[in-house]
Amino acid sequence: MTDNRKNLALVQKGLRRRYRAERRFRLYGILSISFGLLCVLLLFADIISKGHSAFLQTYIQLEVTYDSGILDIDDVSDSGQVALGNFDGIVRAALLEQFPQVSSRRDKKELYQLVSSGEGFELRDRLVANPALLGKTETLWLVADDDIDTYFKTLDDDQVFAGMVSERQQAWVQALVDADRIKLKLNTNFFTRGDSREPEQAGIWGAAVGSFFTLLVTLVLSFPIGVAAAIYLEEFAEKGRWTDLIEVNINNLAAVPSIIFGLLGLAIFINFFNVPRSVPVVGGLVLTLMTLPTIIISSRAAIKSVPPSIRQAAIGIGASPMQVVLHHVLPLAMPGMLTGAIIGMAQALGETAPLLMIGMVAFIVDIPSGPLDPATVLPVQIFLWADSPERAFVEKTSAAIMVLLTFLILMNTAAVILRKRLERRW
């Protein structure tokens, strides 16, 4: 009796300490999860706070006269004349008209920097589309230069970022503000253009199209091959050394660093087979090899989840093993396989490193029109912009990240919905 009481006292003595340890341990767990969640929040908040301003762009309203004297064009249908036309000249004339007091050469040079240097091409396209404009005057909103854009966007903040903008230019911007001739509008360039050295003219459409073609090639190759490999391994492979070798290889490839696949693409596809660099086909081939393990593993899981009774029933009424698989198992496993394919594609969409190896980092202005045109992809575009020194590219990069993340979230949500809606519980 006394022994028992002694033990009880002993336990009771340590109990408070043990409960404290218990609470501490639990706290560590909560802290860990909070840290992880905080990182998610921080990442999104950081990207959005940096990138949201890129969806708006500073525009300056000017009276542009398509003066045939300055342009040196008398016939718009003559493409040679149009190509040589001095469209920058009419932008400059319009700026001078807005600020007639500017006279010295140095001042004029600064004044001309208010408007983006790419706007001449925009005016050319307008004139070609509507030749009747020659000699007429139009009131147009022209894209401002990136320095002016950054300055104007921070004008209302406590800390104005002047950067390269001179005091005279600041005064002109103020004059434009007073005249209500400068404002922020939706940045259409960002969604319709390819890459550019001028941040205000740079867009993600070229990279988005490149990503589309690359993913198309990846999907067309990796889904059938992955599904076929999964069917073979689950339904036909006899246990043995060969099958073991395949399985070990798939598991290992799933964990090989992605940059190694880039080396493979460089040495085999580009160097040995002489496939041209920078084209979505090579990118798609490399990403196919990279995503195959993901697709094979998820497809195998989907095939495994089809109950054996289905197979037995099919065999029972005389189907051959191949008919069992193609007519019964495959359709039932399809939702799971599609989910795996979407997840694999999301992985491929975000991949950068192997594509750097095969030359998809080139500076490409044109929008690719097919999988054999040189192109870049969204993550590589982000990498390129992140490397650019211009401050205006920081917001462009963040905005491009927001677009990329939106696509990824859409794909993953689609995968989740597909799984919930179509997957059957047996």
Binding site: R24, S32, L37, C39, L43, A229, P257, T352, L405
Partner: protein
């Protein structure tokens, strides 16, 4: 005919072959009293004809697409006159290049050796002839194959078995892509590495303490000898991985333990997918975050307490990489912890242990092999991670263990050596493949051990 059009025509022929086979089998069956007197369903006769028509023609076409350049160029070179015959590889490449430019009209023919002009015309002709030859051969193969498939159809023909055998071989071929990929990786890094080790001894590469991969353009250039000692890169990689693991392992492990043992269903349903978001974010985004947010923050914080933190510090890259790996560790650990049998928990709790004591003294030791396997897999991820370090870590190879200093890693060097145009015979580019070989070997070894450990452990409780 262009390859795309040829492909289209072949597919059309395959379709026709299918229809003809299908139709003939039905016609043969009609006098016998319906298709139940055939050995296989008409579909299989059609497919058999389609396979006979398509497979040989497509195989031929693929071989041609792969080898056409080599064949045409060797035919061209053997036809060249004596004085133009190239002696070295680079001479040969130059010659081929100028002939191609002449042929495409990019180079004007003025003042060019007339033999070259003849060669360029020959190249154009060879190309044209080659293309028409392959068109003729591929199309006749397809037609002949279809005819053969059509001819052999009889009610006794075991068409289903034949078609299924072809399907089965196709499935096996797809499964073998994994093996080919591994072999391809090995061959590509191994061959280039061997060429690299011809000019730089293996021991210099593995144990050298200085890394400055410049190669001389002129023979007498100063300061461009190029040294390829990879130890600073290995150390830099290890340092960054170590920082990443000190973040990822405790946080990932504790999150997994909390979610598996403490959290109620609601918390688990929301916290787990939220954590998994971290795994779905592209690495280039982490790189941007590390370079533009974390690194400046650390530098400013360092200035505040009087420390000099490099703007490309190993700490910034390592921390962000750790965050990236958290969900990887936690989901692996979650699997392992859930695999520990409930009876072990019940036994420990029944003896009066608190929950944390049960976890620490019973579940954790039981799950340890699996956790170790998971951590090894995470280490291999950290070593092979590229974009974060390319964007946030430095380029200078320094022998240092100071996390506030800038270091460089294997993957950073591979990217810097290989991005852009490069020639394939300088040790500078080949060094990248040697680094790739190292990376592949190390990650392969880690994965192998990890998978083995995890598998062994799973068998214990199954």
């Amino acid at each position: 005919m262009t390859t795309a059009n040829l492909l289209l025509v072949i597919f059309l022929l395959i379709g026709i072959a299918y229809y003809l086979g299908f139709d003939r089998s039905r016609n043969l069956a009609r006098p016998l009293g319906g298709i139940r007197h055939l050995h296989s369903l008409p579909v299989y006769y059609g497919m058999r004809a389609a396979i006979w028509s398509g497979v040989p023609a497509l195989a031929l076409l693929i071989l041609w697409v792969i080898f056409d350049d080599a064949l045409i160029l060797s035919a061209l070179l053997s036809g060249l006159p004596e004085q133009l015959q190239p002696h070295t590889l680079s001479e040969k490449n130059l010659l081929i290049n100028s002939i191609e430019n002449l042929a495409s009209g990019a180079l004007s023919t003025e003042g060019v050796d007339p033999a070259m002009i003849v060669a360029s015309e020959r190249l154009t002709e060879l190309r044209r002839n080659g293309a028409s030859l392959v068109t003729a051969v591929a199309l006749s193969t397809a037609v002949l194959g279809a005819f053969w498939g059509w001819l052999k159809i009889s009610p006794q023909l075991r068409a289903r078995q034949e078609v299924e055998r072809v399907f089965r071989i196709a499935l096996l071929a797809c499964a073998c892509v994994a093996i080919f990929t591994t072999v391809g990786i090995l061959l590509s890094v191994l061959f280039e590495s061997l060429r690299f080790f011809h000019s730089v001894p293996v021991t210099d590469f593995l144990f050298g303490l200085e890394w400055s991969p410049q190669t001389a353009i002129r023979a007498d250039q100063i300061g461009s000898s190029g040294s390829f000692g990879a130890v600073p890169l290995f150390l830099g990689t290890l340092l960054i991985s170590l920082i990443a693991m000190t973040v990822a392992v405790p946080v990932g492990l504790m999150s997994a333990i909390y979610l598996a043992e403490y959290a109620n269903a609601t918390v688990r349903n929301y916290a787990k997918p939220a954590l998994e978001i971290l795994a779905g974010i592209p690495t280039v985004v982490y790189g941007f975050f590390a370079a533009l947010t974390v690194a400046p923050f650390l530098r400013n914080a360092g200035e505040g307490v009087g420390l000099t933190v490099s703007s490309e510090s190993a700490l910034a890259a390592g921390l962000v990489m750790g965050v990236m790996i958290i969900p990887f560790v936690s989901s692996l650990a979650d699997d392992v912890i859930n695999a520990v049998p409930q009876s072990l928990r019940d036994g420990s709790l029944g003896l009066g242990a608190t929950q944390s004591e049960t976890i620490k003294k019973v579940i954790f030791p039981a799950a340890l092999p699996g956790i170790v396997g998971g951590v090894l897999l995470a280490v291999s991820r950290a070593i092979g991670e590229t974009m974060i370090v390319v964007m946030a870590a430095g380029l200078t190879a320094k022998l240092t263990a100071n996390p506030l200093d800038a270091v460089t890693t294997i993957t950073v060097q591979i990217v810097t050596l290989l991005v852009g145009d490069q020639e394939f015979d300088s040790p500078k580019t080949l060094a990248a493949f040697a680094l790739g070989l190292m990376l592949f070997m190390v990650t392969l070894a880690l994965n192998f051990v990890a998978l083995h450990v995890v598998k062994k452990y799973r068998e214990q409780y199954d």
